[in-house]
């Protein structure tokens, strides 16, 4: 709180300072970082409590006021918004600011077919963009190269959260191509594009895992193996589960990337993110996922949501996100995760997370990547049905 107060006294926004100081935050001691996160979250809680009638009413029902949140140990008391409220047709009640202040509406559509819609004011958009880019730089250090996007562009699916987040990386590259167009993906075209970039750019492949897996299946089926570059990154976000329910194992995916794309383990990086939150959690070179250092993960016992599980145990993820100004960033997700302990030699403070699965009770088991996966299958089926050649 001392740092937070000092920043405010100096006329600085502590959130903006945090967003521009990712490396420095990770270098803090654990207790310093937790204290600073607490101060950001407490400030955000005060704001939403004061400006959101729906949220304040929920807090009062639980006898929680800003005065109750006195330390990091009290963060568990902050009331959480179930993530499915972002699908409700009265989701305007989540807003802590007028609808007139909303600059961007983002969505994600999973298997239920009902979109989850999040609305961001200008300040939240600023925070989200700063946060995403800061984390990209911290973990990918990308500033050049060619990006092969195995997903559609935002031109095809405006305001789709996953696509937007991945698209932002394009601005740091020298060139990029989207290989999913009009709900169709031709892996041979992707292969040709990679060949055109060979020896001209470091080549990166970016997209949901199952769409990258489609490309690998093509390579496998045509008995091809390629050798990407020593600085290549395979960057994935979302889409670990197909629309059919089939789960792609991370190990299997990594092994196939190594075999067919010619990369090393440390070149395969996954991102965990939600359209409803401004958090990103990104793999380091050892495959350990680090949570944005200004956001707090609280892993709850699914049967007793008021209690956290121990480090290493699986629980239901709650996110405390102080970057969100338009809605309370205190969300109970439907994701089961575990927080991992810090290992010897890992220099970053903060939280490390391993995604496990969606809650079995959840109607959703994916993000918009699931729909992309299904659409591509549907398109292929249509082509097969109309193709005069018998397979």
């Amino acid at each position: 709180m001392e740092l937070h107060n000092a920043l405010k006294k100096a006329g600085l926004d502590p959130v903006k300072v945090a967003l521009s100081s990712v490396k420095q935050l990770y270098a803090m001691t654990e207790s310093q970082l937790l204290e600073f996160k607490y101060s950001l979250i407490a400030d955000a809680f005060q704001f939403h409590y004061s400006n959101n009638a729906f949220y304040r009413s929920a807090c009062e029902d639980k006898h929680i006021t800003p005065e109750v949140i006195k330390s990091a140990d009290d963060l568990i008391k902050i009331p959480l918004i179930p993530i499915n409220l972002y699908k409700a047709n009265d989701s305007h009640k989540l807003l802590s600011k007028s609808l007139k202040s909303i600059e961007l509406e983002m969505r994600s559509t999973g298997t239920s077919g009902i979109p989850s819609v999040s609305r961001r004011c200008s300040e939240t958009v600023d925070n989200a963009i700063l946060g995403i880019y800061a984390m990209y730089r911290e973990f990918f250090e990308i500033s050049k190269g060619a990006g092969l996007y195995l997903c559609p562009s935002n031109e095809e699916i405006p305001e789709m959260g996953m696509i937007k987040a991945l698209n932002m990386m394009a601005g740091m590259l020298d060139t990029h191509q989207f290989m999913v167009k009009n709900e169709s993906f031709a892996p041979e075209d992707a292969l040709e594009q990679l060949a055109r970039w060979e020896n001209k750019f470091d080549r990166h492949i970016i997209g949901p895992p199952f769409l990258i897996n489609r490309f690998i299946r093509y390579l496998k089926a045509t008995n091809k193996k390629i050798k990407l570059d020593k600085n290549t990154l395979i960057i994935t976000l979302g889409g670990w589960k197909r629309f059919s329910g089939e789960m792609l194992s991370r190990k299997e995916f990594n092994d196939e990337c190594i075999e067919f794309l010619g990369v090393q383990q440390n070149q395969i990086r996954d991102i965990y993110a939600l359209v409803e939150s401004n958090v990103v959690a990104i793999d380091d070179e050892h495959g350990v996922k680090h949570v944005s250092p200004y956001i707090h993960f609280s892993v709850r016992d699914p049967k007793r949501l008021e209690q956290e599980v121990a480090i290493g145990e699986v629980g239901q993820l709650a996110i405390l996100d102080p970057l969100s100004c338009s809605t309370p960033g205190f969300i109970l997700t439907e994701d089961l995760v575990r927080l991992l302990p810090k290992k010897q030699g890992d220099l970053r403070s903060g939280q490390r997370v391993e995604y496990v699965m969606r809650l079995p009770e959840s109607l959703e088991f994916g993000c918009c990547a699931v729909n992309l996966d299904k659409q591509l299958d549907d398109t292929e089926e249509l082509h097969t049905e109309t193709c005069p050649v018998i397979a």
């Binding site: 699908k87 047709n89 009265d90 305007h92 600011k97 609808l99 007139k100 202040s101 909303i102 600059e103 961007l104 509406e105 969505r107 559509t109 077919g113 009902i114 979109p115 819609v117 609305r119 004011c121 200008s122 300040e123 600023d126 699916i157 405006p158 305001e159 789709m160 729909n371 659409q375």
Partner: protein
């Protein structure tokens, strides 16, 4: 200091109809039901109607999706409640689109939604399918 006015994403018509959607609801015994959806962005609207002698006595909806599509459903229901179907069927696409006010580019698909709702209404009443 940056003013928090965003880029005025929603016009006043949309704001009012999204934040005060007075036609939200369900009918125990609907005479007709129409539903439209977009599998890509996920916008989905279900409308239930009470109709007597081709007059729309009551129209309620459930909608999921962007604010503008939810508002569109409310605007549609408001515009047809108490109206004779023959009058509604005279509406032209241009007139229909203007019901939503000036929209941002990312919201233009809602004009198509509103036109489609009118078309579905025509198809439903003509066929008599609940």
């Amino acid at each position: 200091m940056k003013k928090d006015i965003g880029t005025l994403m929603y016009n006043d018509i949309i704001i009012k109809n999204f934040t005060e959607p007075h036609n939200v609801g369900d009918l125990e015994s609907a005479d007709y039901e129409i539903e439209i959806g977009n599998p890509v962005c996920g916008d989905r609207i279900k409308v239930q109607l009470l109709v007597t002698d081709k007059v729309i006595n009551k129209a309620v909806f459930r909608a999921w999706g962007c604010a503008t599509s939810v508002a569109t459903a409310n605007i549609f229901c408001s515009s047809i409640a108490g109206e004779a179907y023959d009058n509604i069927s005279q509406r032209q696409p241009l007139e229909i689109g203007q019901m939503l006010g000036e929209l941002e580019p990312s919201q233009q698909h809602c004009v198509e939604i509103l036109v489609e709702l009118h078309q579905k209404l025509a198809d439903t009443i003509s066929s008599g399918v609940v």
